[in-house]
Symmetry: C2
Subunit: 175 residues, 2 copies
């Protein structure tokens, strides 16, 4: 079965700092016209850092939900930036911990119905302590949580962030 849809015309309806939104004229596999709403995003890179059986999580306010969340450190790719570099940079900026290297774990599609964002998940290795340099409009606090406690918070719905759930579950599955 052919499932392929075609773009007839891209129509940008919003160009923001974080996202660009399109409402494209497209064509279904059977040739019928349709509209497709798409959120373009440069991509997000996140990083799992485990130290003595504890996971480093950042607490921050997430405006879309109007609530605080606990997540692994993450940030948006700069134009043309290697996501591995973004992950290492965000870990250092948000938490002060400086990785010697990061290893790719997953590339995930957070919500493929309308977003074109890819979220890269890395694991940090050879980490040294350094200085915190958050972005000007970023307020975060970082702390370590035992892996079992994080899994229990996921189970209880206290941690809902998709990339964080995947990174920590996969850590437990590798055991």
């Amino acid at each position: 079965m052919n499932l392929t849809e075609k773009t007839v015309k891209q129509n940008v309806v919003f160009e923001g700092k974080i996202i660009r939104v399109r409402c494209d004229d497209a064509e279904l596999p059977d040739g019928k016209p349709c509209k497709r709403e798409v959120v373009d995003h440069a991509g997000g890179a996140s990083v799992l850092y485990v130290r003595e059986g504890k996971v480093l999580l950042v607490r921050q306010f997430r405006y879309p939900y109007m609530e605080e969340t606990l997540e692994i450190p993450a940030g948006k790719l700069n134009p043309g930036e290697d996501p591995a570099r973004t992950a290492a940079r965000e870990l250092a900026e948000e938490t002060g911990w400086q990785p010697a290297s990061v290893e790719h774990m997953f590339t995930i599609y957070p919500t493929p119905g309308y977003s074109a964002e890819k979220i890269y998940i890395y694991r940090a290795h050879g980490v040294r302590e350094g200085q915190v340099h958050p972005d000007e409009d970023e307020f975060v606090t970082a702390a370590f949580y035992p892996v079992d406690e994080v899994l229990s918070m996921i189970e209880k719905g206290e941690i809902k962030d998709a990339k964080t759930i995947i990174a920590v579950m996969s850590l437990r599955l590798q055991k």
Copy 2:
């Protein structure tokens, strides 16, 4: 540390069929003004159905990535709809399998930096075979895959959808 941001003014910049986009005037914890880009969405409900050690996945074309994906069945909530009902409905419509009940597994935040969407993940129970009724502009094919094969496809990056990864990993962790 107070992390709370405040809405000064909501500004809707795009009102689509699937998403609504805002570029709000907001206030940082220190009182400084900022802009916050938000994608509003009615919410998505998805459903894990396991039959004889195999997971039911749907193959579909995802326009934002211009590629086919394998995902657990899912769909958008109708206004005011209980997500459990959406999950049961989407399973039946997309695959023909009719659950007697669905059990809540997780509520996840797919990409909390800009989206307010909540994705609900359910597990289907008491499933009977029925008829397929996809939406008019929806082209999907459904098939069963052994749990180990799905985990291997996740490992190899062949399955990238966040809700699918979380549902299947959690299945293995429960064992």
